[in-house]
């Protein structure tokens, strides 16, 4: 029998993972299971959800209602569709705006690098809610944005807060883009310059070197940044509430909020969270697979 070689002290090193594992179990696995127990539980005569901890007693009635409502033609479909479209559009804008910013700070900022990093972190000092409230002032009919547009000669500046999808998307981008830029910056900053120089030495143009070296090497960071913004955007409801307030821009988070905030169908709200988690799991599975592939490729 062949024994696997064991590195000395490997067991004690694994022990360092213990706090993290305990943390994950306590604050991820247990809450997730509690959510399922609530979603698949029953209601008492007070219309409050009673969690079913034993999977053998799970009641999937509300889950069927949530799933049938979330597919095209269902009662929640407009919100699901809006959520997917808004998040996808916001992600594209995060790429278009965030990548160049992160690229510049990582590759070209020299003396100003520290200052620019501080500027990138500054939005974290202000709560998301306050930043969204600030946008109401900026985007109001007589707000600064329209004043600037009027000053530039735009005769009829848009009514940004009039229940428009583009306002919600812009607000989502504004709210979450720092979470995208920072990991992308970190990834770009870690790229070995020698690899880019090697590409140039082998005759690549700057653009070609970027396309064939920098961009592929930054893919893990782009995926991480995407995951960081997509996850919270998917569950976001307050941005839409504040910036739009119109049912036309309802997102899945708004539906969940409606059922969970109060009322007799909190189980249904929990089931909608399960549906949302299922959609996100698809995205996360792609992220995990790509990350694993990139790790093998660039190791």
């Amino acid at each position: 029998m062949r024994l696997r070689a064991r590195r000395p002290g490997a067991g004690s090193w694994r022990g360092f993972a213990l706090p993290g594992i305990v943390w994950l179990v306590l604050f991820t696995v247990v809450p997730a299971y509690a959510l399922l127990a609530m979603a698949f539980g029953k209601e008492n005569f007070l219309l409050e959800p009673v969690p079913a901890w034993n999977p053998g007693t799970w009641n999937v009635g509300f889950l069927f209602q949530a799933i049938s409502g979330a597919v095209p033609g269902g009662e929640f479909w407009p919100s699901v569709r809006n959520t997917i479209v808004y998040v996808a559009a916001s992600l594209v804008l995060c790429f278009v705006i965030g990548y160049p910013v992160a690229y510049y700070v990582a590759r070209h900022a020299r003396r100003t690098k520290a200052l620019l990093i501080v500027l990138l972190v500054i939005p974290f000092w202000v709560s998301y809610l306050l930043r969204m409230l600030a946008w109401i002032g900026l985007l109001a009919s007589d707000g600064y944005v329209n004043k600037v547009l009027s000053g530039l000669g735009v005769a009829h500046p848009p009514n940004w807060l009039n229940g428009n999808a583009y306002s919600v998307i812009l607000a989502l981008v504004y709210g979450y883009i720092p979470y995208f830029i920072l990991p992308v910056f970190a990834g770009l900053d870690r790229i070995d310059r020698h690899q880019i120089e090697a590409a140039r030495d082998l005759g690549a143009t700057p653009f070609s070197a970027f396309l064939h070296v920098t961009l592929p090497l930054s893919r893990p960071a782009l995926l991480a940044g995407s995951a960081l913004v997509v996850l919270p955007m998917f569950g976001d409801y307050y941005t839409n509430d504040l910036i739009s307030g119109s049912p036309r821009t309802n997102m899945l988070g708004n539906e969940i909020n409606l059922f969970v905030q109060g009322g007799p169908q909190k189980n249904l709200g929990a089931c909608l969270v399960v549906v949302m988690m299922a959609i996100l799991l698809v995205a996360m599975a792609y992220y995990v697979l790509q990350t694993a592939r990139d790790t093998r490729r660039f190791a």
């Binding site: 029953k42 209601e43 008492n44 005569f45 007070l46 219309l47 409050e48 009673v50 009641n59 009635g61 509300f62 009662e75 929640f76 407009p78 919100s79 109001a140 009919s141 009514n159 807060l161 009039n162 229940g163 509430d241 504040l242 307030g245 119109s246 049912p247 036309r248 309802n250 708004n254 539906e255 409606l258 059922f259 905030q261 109060g262 009322g263 007799p264 169908q265 909190k266 189980n267």
Partner: protein, 416 residues
């Protein structure tokens, strides 16, 4: 932005579904499988008959939950008051502290579910709480409130409107005294809508539908299930704000969906801000919010631009908040004295200057409130009399069946 009123009413969505974990524990063996909800419009979630003005309910007094004896000395405090955010004037609190030489400590909550869950769990102990009609029965059944001893509450008989001394939701005021009354009507900006007045329309409750399309994007509805749906019911000519008939709710839902599509309707609960800053011109509104709206007007804009309509005959949505003493109160005598203190007319006027909501006291007539300079004459319609309150379309608790119907209809409107 979610206001105290909005949060309060959202709690009312759960009227039926009181978030009382303690109750849940007590009722753990009464779970009902999903889908087994049966139509029973006469019984509330707590098992008591649904209170209505024409079917008043006398709340039970339990052997293990009796009122305190008469003639007791007030405790040393501090009095623990569990209240909505900014729902009492600090001057009223200060007066009580001076009068009884005690401290009052206020803890606040943001949703009624959160508040009741904490109270029922026993994790927190407060003396005074602010329940609402729609879930009073459950608080009593759950023995979260204690019965009141009226010997400590002389202001109840001396000042409160006769209709609320023994209200339909709590005959004999066994567990509650009224706090504020409010109506739900229509607010608008007269400067943007000159000549507009719902009272001049053949169907005043259809004002948003008739006027709204012309000013699409400038129309708002309260983001509140009960009041929002009630607007749809009223537009359809259905005057029962507690109906559990599916056809009624379907008609209201369809009317509201039409309104959403025709007016690019906004849903919010800060109508006082939107009307004041001119971002919206026509909005379903709460009377107390409209009374406060002049304070939010931009500098230089006169208060007369704000208007509020609610039918003078009282056939419109109306409700009231209340105070109760919690069963686990450590200062029950002081809590009773506090309830009595808030029912003092002088304190009520002070309170109005901060919260904007009228108290149902004989002295607090519309004329008196205006004479005190608390409300401009053009917003006199935000104030009501006892007779109007008696005629009002009150919102009461719903059955389990009804609560689900209402919520599903509202969800359809909100995602239309």
């Amino acid at each position: 932005m979610i206001t105290r009123r909005a949060l309060l009413r959202r709690g009312a969505l759960a009227a039926a579904g009181l978030g009382a974990s303690g109750l849940l524990g007590a009722c753990a063996d009464t779970t009902t499988p999903v889908g087994a909800i049966a139509a029973d419009a006469d019984v509330g979630p707590g098992g008591l008959p649904l209170a209505r003005p024409d079917r008043p309910v006398t709340l039970p007094i339990y052997r293990d939950n009796r009122a305190i004896a008469s003639g007791l000395r007030p405790e040393a405090g501090p009095l623990q008051f569990y209240n909505w955010i900014e729902y009492i004037n600090q001057d009223v609190i200060n007066d009580f502290q001076r009068r009884y030489k005690v401290k009052v400590e206020i803890s606040t909550f943001t949703t009624i579910d959160e508040a009741v869950a904490k109270l029922a769990s026993g994790a927190v102990q407060f003396d005074v709480f602010v329940p609402e009609t729609v879930f009073l029965e459950e608080l009593v059944v759950g023995k979260i409130l204690q019965p009141l001893n009226h010997s400590y509450l002389p202001n109840l008989a001396a000042h409160v409107w006769p209709s609320l001394q023994s209200p339909w939701y709590d005959v004999g005021s066994r567990y509650s005294v009224p706090y504020t009354v409010y109506t739900t009507g229509i607010g608008w900006r007269e400067d943007f809508l000159p000549g507009f007045d719902p009272s001049r329309l053949a169907k005043p409750w259809g004002a948003l539908w008739t006027e709204g399309p012309r000013i699409a994007g400038k129309v708002g509805l309260l983001d509140d299930q009960h009041d929002g749906m009630t607007m749809g019911l009223l537009e359809r000519g259905i005057l029962d704000p507690n109906t559990e008939r599916p056809a009624d709710l379907a008609a209201a839902k369809d009317a509201l969906v039409r309104l959403v599509q025709a007016t690019n309707l906004k849903f919010d609960t800060n109508e006082y801000q939107h009307l004041a800053d001119g971002s919206l011109w026509l909005h379903q509104a709460w009377s107390g919010d409209m009374a406060s709206a002049p304070y939010y007007l931009p500098k230089g804009t006169p208060a007369k631009v704000l208007r509020y309509w609610w039918p003078a005959n009282g056939r419109g949505p109306i409700n009231n908040d209340m105070f109760g003493v919690l069963r686990g109160a450590r200062n029950p005598v002081l809590a009773h004295l506090f309830l009595n203190h808030v029912l003092d007319p002088d304190e009520a006027f002070k309170n109005f200057s901060f919260v904007g909501y009228q108290q149902p006291l004989n002295e607090m007539t519309p004329e008196a409130v205006i004479a005190h300079g608390l409300v401009p004459p053009n917003l006199r319609t935000t104030l009501i009399r006892d007779q109007q309150f008696r005629n009002g379309l009150v919102q009461g608790p719903l059955s389990q069946y009804g609560a689900v119907l209402w919520e599903n209809a509202w969800a359809a409107v909100r995602s239309s």
